[in-house]
Symmetry: C2
Subunit: 330 residues, 2 copies
């Protein structure tokens, strides 16, 4: 299989018409047509073998799913609707030349397509190459739209706002830990019970937060609550207090010891839930688009005397919470 055959496979796998795409795969550029009076949102995310996934542990459909989920989650965090995705994909020669390799590639596209269809996201272009290192390299680009001036930012939270998270936390870390301990390939299939392999980007929640003007600021929990809440606080020039007992734990995290579960929820990352702020007096539904919403704390005016994030635990002294999540160059 050469590059033209690979591009043809991508074109066949992702064929279909979409209102927002005037011209898809096959020219120097794709042409997108956003709705009038909308802004364009853009995010890019690497999925690199041995950095973001391992070929010997992750099913290929999970690699494809997670690749797209990372980008969709960034759109969700700003309340945007997906317009199109683009994929730059470099594959080792053996994946194109062997039957087993081609099965891997087909599984990767299956996982990506399944999630793309769920969220009406056409794949409109990208680039392909042979990978010079023998490692799989993917870069996903998501283009979304939001009404002008309405996208949710990290920087617009205000002192006094309440802090909320969607869904439950710590599941991705708990599943990953079990995966690494088992150290053998997983055959996990798409389901809500696989928070690491198949995280669900919260696009419907993000869109509702924007449309119904519920949130003042939002961010997705890709790097872990301790890290992402720090980003939100820094961008908004605020500090936060959160209650450990209020943090909703994923069922897989609840199987761990209490301290491991809390660590997974605070620092595990890759849950792809949303963290958002809203005025404390605003009535926030207990569910949005079917996803539970939980209040976990409050934002305050920043103070040189107080830590950026204070963690309250029942029966203990409040402690400072520092960013303990994903360190990209650690």
């Amino acid at each position: 299989m050469g590059e033209l055959a690979l591009i043809e496979q991508i074109r066949r796998t992702f064929q279909g018409r979409s209102r927002g795409v005037s011209l898809g795969i096959g020219d120097d550029c794709a042409i997108l047509r956003p709705p009038a009076r909308h802004e364009i949102l853009v995010t890019t995310d690497f999925s690199l073998e041995n950095r973001h996934f391992r070929r010997d542990l992750h099913p290929p459909s999970s690699v494809g799913h997670r690749c797209l989920a990372r980008g969709l989650s960034d759109l969700a965090a700003m309340g945007a609707r997906p317009l199109a995705a683009f994929l730059s994909l470099a594959l080792p020669g053996e994946l194109l030349r062997t039957r087993k390799g081609q099965q891997w590639v087909a599984g990767f596209f299956d996982g990506l397509r399944h999630l793309a269809q769920q969220h009406s996201t056409p794949l409109a272009g990208g680039d392909t190459s042979e990978s010079p290192s023998g490692l799989i390299l993917a870069d996903i680009i998501l283009i979304g739209t939001a009404p002008q001036g309405r996208a949710l930012r990290r920087s617009e939270a205000r002192a006094g706002d309440a802090l909320y998270v969607t869904g439950s936390l710590g599941g991705a870390h708990a599943e990953l830990t079990a995966l690494l301990a088992a150290n053998r390939p997983s055959r996990a299939k798409v389901s809500q019970s696989h928070p690491h392999f198949f995280p669900q980007p919260r696009l419907a929640v993000g869109a509702a937060l924007l449309q119904r003007r519920l949130a003042t600021a939002a961010i997705d929990l890709s790097d872990g609550l301790s890290t992402d809440l720090t980003h939100l606080c820094e961008s908004s020039h605020l500090r936060a207090e959160i209650d450990a007992a209020a943090i909703p734990l994923h069922p897989l995290a609840r199987k761990l010891s209490a301290s491991d579960a809390l660590n997974a929820a605070l620092n595990g990352g890759e849950d792809y839930e949303l963290l958002f702020s809203a005025p404390a007096a605003k009535r926030i539904p207990s569910k949005i688009a079917g996803v539970p919403i939980t209040r976990i704390g409050t934002l305050h005016a920043a103070s040189a005397k107080k830590p950026r994030i204070l963690l309250n635990r029942p029966g203990e002294r409040p402690t400072e919470l520092t960013p303990g999540g994903w360190q990209h160059f650690a």
Copy 2:
């Protein structure tokens, strides 16, 4: 230097305000504001070490320049104006930890920034990672705009149209051949006389072709005239005849033997000139935006009895020209 320091370096290097960018580096997505009644054009292009460049031969400023030039050239081919660029960049740990490595990174950004400024292209976001293979991986994403329905496509050429190229061909291949023969690092600096290290994307020509409604179809010469003309013919369901003697040769190609020079022009690739079609009766200026325009042939209705491309050479029988350019998985 960790990831946050790298992102800070990128932010500093590319800081500046732009009308089209509502929100740049630092949130989950960037926010772009395209002009009203315009479409969005998107292209992504890998620049992978040992595939598209070699660290031991290419100056880092050339790697940065060529990375951006590839994307800008795709916009030029469709007559689009750049709105913003995004960069996904994975670096080996040693490039961040050593002084020499940091110099490489600074040189890469210098080359990219210099070209970005020339074409008023803000860098509005992207992704960073440590490269698991130890090889540098870059993926550049260009977002451009064109008035609705007006972008130049490969598919709209008509039988009888004349074929034109911008500038001159074969220079990039001639320079690359010399580079590989010398097999030592180059210290080339930005100038028109380095067609391989510092190719000039033809954005002003592309924009003029669109605005003045001169071209019926266009494509950029990234893979070589024989390959890219085949793409244009296939997309437009036509065949072509071109005259070898009419092809404008770059001064570096003219130093080669006649057959090597013709091969460099036809199959060398990476010249990043434009190939476009226009009605034969249409008056095409001899220069557009200061760049020479040369007629090299004619398009005809496709025929099962005739080759896709016929090459006429003075004093010889016409021969079939097959795609001999860059084969991505060869």
